[in-house]
Each structure stands twice: as C-alpha cells, then as structure tokens.
Symmetry: C2
Subunit: 233 residues, 2 copies
Amino acid sequence: MALWRAIADTLRAEIASGQWRPGQRLPPEAVLAARFGVNRHTLRHAARTLADEGLLYARRGAGVFVAAAPVDYPLGQRVRFHRNIELAGKVPGRRIDAVMTRPASPSEAAALDLPAGAEVHAAEGLSTVDFRPVALFRSVFPAARLPGLPAALRETGSITRALAACGIEDYCRVHTRIAAQVADAAQAAQLQIDPGEALLRTETLNAAAGIPVERGRTWWAAGRVTLTLQDHS
Amino acid sequence: MALWRAIADTLRAEIASGQWRPGQRLPPEAVLAARFGVNRHTLRHAARTLADEGLLYARRGAGVFVAAAPVDYPLGQRVRFHRNIELAGKVPGRRIDAVMTRPASPSEAAALDLPAGAEVHAAEGLSTVDFRPVALFRSVFPAARLPGLPAALRETGSITRALAACGIEDYCRVHTRIAAQVADAAQAAQLQIDPGEALLRTETLNAAAGIPVERGRTWWAAGRVTLTLQDHS
C-alpha cells in the first residue's frame, strides 16, 4: 500500500474516533511528517486526499483544520427545511429578514408562469442548524395567488406554515438546479464563514396541484451541509 | 422598481440575447455606471445580483466576465455521462488517466460492502464537454466481482461500456451526496480554471441487482455544469 494512503487512513480513523475534533487545527506539516517518518510531499498527498473527502480544510496562512461533519440535507420531492433538519437530529432555525411585494423580474415571471409585470412577494433570510448559520435563502411567490402570504410569513417565520395559512397544504418540487460558487464578502459575513469559501447554490421550483407557488434560491455554506439524494426510499 | 433591479434586468436580457458573449469582459464599472446614469454602488448591486445567478463572475484584478452557460447534467437514477451530455446537444469526452488495483480504504470497503482489505480497481480521469474539461472523477469497483474491468476500462475508455463488458448491463444509483469546495492548484490545472474557483463534488454509489458495483466521486467545475433534478419526468 502506498505510504500516503496509509497515513490518510490513519488520520481518517483518528478523525472518525473523535481524537481530532471539528474546528481543531492539525499540527504543522513538519510535525506530522516527523510523526509518520515521511517527507512533506507524502504527508501533503495524504492531507489532500482527506481535504478532497471534505474531512480537512486549509485556511491560507493559518493551517489545516478538521472540518465539522456537515449535516445531511435530503433533496426529496417535498423539501421542508424544518422537517429535514429535525430528521438529522438537529435544531432547525429560520429567520426571515425581509418580505416585500414588487414586480417580478422576467426570469421570476417565467419560472412562476406569471404575465410580465405581475407582482411577487419576495422573502429573504437565514437558515440555521443548531443555532449556526447554514444557508441564505431568497424566495418569490405569486402575489395575486397568495395575498395573505407576507403577513403569514412575518407571523409564522416559516415558509411551509405560511403557505399552509394561505391554503397551500401540500406542494412538491418540479425541479431543482444545483450549482456552486464562492462566497462574497456579504454572504460570508451573514453565514459567518470566510469570503472565498465554497457555497452550494440550489434553485427550486415548487408547485401545488401543478401551479407554481414558490421559486426558491438557497446559498448553503458547503462546509456545513451535504445535499443527499436517496433512491428507493 | 428599484434602479439596480432594472439595470440587472437589462444586462440579463443583453446576455440572453448574445450581445455579451461567454468569456467576454464587461466594460469597467465607471463606464457601465455612466451608461445607466447611476453611481457605482447601484451598478455593483446589479452586477452582484447577476453574479448570484451565475451569469457573471469576477476575476480578481481582471474585471467582471460573462459566464458561459453551464451545461445541464441531470442526476437521474441512471447516471450515464455520455448519454447525459449528448442529450444536452454537446460532445462528451472521457479520458481515463490511471487504472490500478489496490486494497480498499476503510470507507471504500464500507461503501462497496466489501470485507476489510478486499481489493478494488480504482480509475481516475477527466471528463470533457465540447472538448473543454468539466470534471475530474475517481471511481472504485469491487475487484473480485469484476476481474476483467481494468482491461475493459483501458479498451473502451468508458465506465458504462467497461461494466457492460463485465456483464453489468444495467446499474442504478443507490444514493448521491452533493457538496462543494474550492479548487486547489492541482485540480485547477487539470480543469483549466483558477485555483479558488468553486467545484461541485458528487459522490455516488451505483448498484446492480442490489449489489454495489461502483463508488464514484466527481469534482465538477461549477462554472461549467449545473446539476439538475427533475420530478415527474
């Protein structure tokens, strides 16, 4: 077996056992290289493998850290933030920072199947898991179909409950698009990560009885969430 | 309507119409701000909106560029690189750089349901769309179940065809996990992107008749591919 692979296996097992904890900095390269009796090149190869797996991450000038195990977020046909997070045994939180009603942009109108210039309710805010920020979200809803939504959003703080208050008891995903980008300064500040860290970006269209009710965009702190697809479940 | 939103709509329409082409640099901020008769703050707000949507990207010190429309890659139950890319009207390519047989790591053995120390075939390489790199991949396969795979991989250059040559005519996804990270120098060089750009990382377990046949990891250049989930299709 290649030496770097044996070192990666050892470090992986140590992380899994809790010997290295999330957020903890690994000893400097030279120290680890000495521990394993290898050169820095070999050690770096092992560390890169673990970084590829999402177990370690580097901060420029600060060293290599153990990543917190990200929470699994299932992308089922019914995407419900609170329920998904509770299923993972964590505490979900959602803060709606702004709700406004304005004309749809052309892409919003097209997505929601609205005539040009129709109004949408737009909501944005922050989602937390165990009281730590995990995602920024921005959703738009057809205003004419859901006149009571802004009040319900402010009252319930939950998109699922606000839609239910407007008579939408069930809604399903029509499609989800998944991309990635790096966080800019504003996103990083809100998510309490560093600018330049990776974000997962999802864009989902939800419909009830075939009629679009929400187009949601979410920017997930990639170090904190893994999106999962499970078949036959 | 907010001024920045009107500017974003105008630029979005110009990009959609082909007036600004992928890879093209936008005029400097001051020039665009003068064109729209707004201050830089307003212009920046519009540009950030389009960057959030993946239509523009900034390169430090070089300016703001129009992003090439990423290719849609459907994450269906049967993930087949060649077929997916051809469905998008593009030319798929796959280069297998290395195939080796070695003992499974603990996580590989667990994923493939193998006893500790069992051997896997490992393959890695590069996927292209229209002759441009889009993804790095690394897959492991149970060696005892697929003795002829390395030769078939080298001969066919295709995982789907190599598995077929070993008698696995059909296989399905058991699960896919989706994460994001930033490209390191080695990944960036292979993908011909800049270090620090965002990568989508997928990890998929495929099985045939309930038996795991492949665990594949793929690092996608996020600017070039959007992963999509379509329901009721």
